[in-house]
Amino acid sequence: MNITNLTLTELAAKFQSGELTSRAITEAFIKNIEAHDSDINAFVNTTFDLAREMADAADSRYQNKTLLSPLDGIPMDLKDVVSTQEAPTTASSKILENYIPPFDATVWQKLKAAGVVLLGKTNTDEFTMGASTETSAFGVTKNPHNTQKVAGGSSGGPAASVAAEFSAGSIGTDTGGSIRQPASFCGVTGLKVSYGRVSRWGTIPMASSLDTIGPIAKTAQDCALILQTIAGQDPKDSTTSDKPVPDYLAGLGKSLAGMTIGIPKEYIVDGIDPEVLNTFNATKAICEELGAKLVDISLANTKYAVPTYYIIAPAEISANMSRFDGIRFGTLPDGTTDLQSIYKETRTQGLGDEVKRRILIGGYALSAGYYDAFYRKAQKVRTLIKQDFDTAFLEVDAIITPVSPTPAFDIGENKDDPLKMYLEDIFTIPASLAGICGISTPIGKSKDGLPIGAQILGPAFTEDRILNIAHQIQLNIT
């Protein structure tokens, strides 16, 4: 049996029936990481000793019939912005290279309490700022399908880890597409939850009005299992919703018959790769065969989404990054004695170019004389973008689009052109601004063997619905 090839759902079933021990499952993933991560660079730090201990504890619980949850004994990794007491949490930045948090993020507290085994922390663009993991201070993560290509980003480490069979599932973060796009590039499933569905407490923030945390795994069913454990209100994150958490697995059996799915014309643009378009059209046909009614819709303000996002996100970034001032974290730069030089040297030496660029954009957009023209204007356009979705969802149950206009691009291709890199998120950013949920599902491959993905968007707090649509597509795709 090829253990690492199994889905998280299958592994959980085999562990709970006694067919496989957690230790055997864990060793199989460790073996893959040891053999192949030098080619992929998915992990920033591994925690194999801890993983073996946690797996043995899960096996004892199986013997004693005291299993903690459906995820008990399952080895996973976490994007390296999720605070863990057991391992450094670097945000893939030099400024936090040696930082070990004295607390656990809520999402890790929940997974640990569910019995999940931690294999390590996976790579991201520095402080999640990027679409390719090329801004990581610890090297780019390569695409397991072709190591000349990026894994996508910012959750490139988590997506590559699942695709390379280094872990059964992972936790990523998505602010403007950072779960959906790498999941698509790596041929795995990634769920961006509605804003407020999963607690962000203890996860290093980028843009606080946009950040979300969600699962990346092989299938929609796997994502449903993980979401069940991490969703819900948290008193420590006042933006979490008190809406009840539905039974996501129970929602997976529903037929698509009678469902209306919208295709926004603004997402079928000239620059779209023909192979992406053909594969997407084949997926539309599958939805129709499954009984869904497809209708053309318009999200008229889509063209403003990227500039709106790249004003609002950097504004929030410049505020969030002010905590990295050399007082509470980091190492003291040599020869700094006065406060101003501690601030400046710590940030100048510890942060990379993309982080600096976004702090500068944010500082500019919020500065006197520019606030109204940039920040206030962007917040108004954000309302228009959100209203587009509100109106569309009066008519349709869900929306389906490509995740990205192209399959994974070459490492280095966009590195010196920040604007081109920002435009990579053109199809994922609008949903982030609206705070709604979206799932990225693999729908095929290009002739060069690169994965292609579709994104299914639903109204806020309809994760059950979009997980089911992705699940139905996954069951019926050839």
């Binding site: 509470r328 500068l360 108004k380 356009v381």
Partner: protein
């Protein structure tokens, strides 16, 4: 168009030190990005409210009770500076 002086000014506000080469590079890149932002001005936002959050929640409060998590010293230990009297000791501000 953003000027090199403006980039230097903003860098000062956000506490970053830029070399001459970096000022040139960031001025060029920020110029391109800000030009791209200009298209937002076409959008008609007359009478449109601003969206600063999308939770649908308002005024989330908790009871005013002190909770002790016992982590003060561990949090202080993350600092690269001297710790005295349960405080981080930094160089004088003024």
């Amino acid at each position: 168009m953003i000027t090199q002086d403006e980039v230097r000014h903003i860098a000062g506000l956000v506490k970053l030190k830029l070399s001459g080469e970096e000022v040139t590079k960031f001025t060029d890149q920020l110029g391109t990005i800000l030009d791209f932002f200009a298209q937002l001005q076409e959008a008609n936002t007359d009478g449109v409210e601003e969206t600063s959050q999308v939770t649908g929640l308002s005024n989330i409060t908790r009871s005013d009770e002190i909770t002790v998590d016992g982590q003060e010293l561990a949090l202080l230990a993350c600092s690269p500076h001297k710790i005295e009297n349960r405080s981080i000791k930094i160089p004088k501000v003024l």
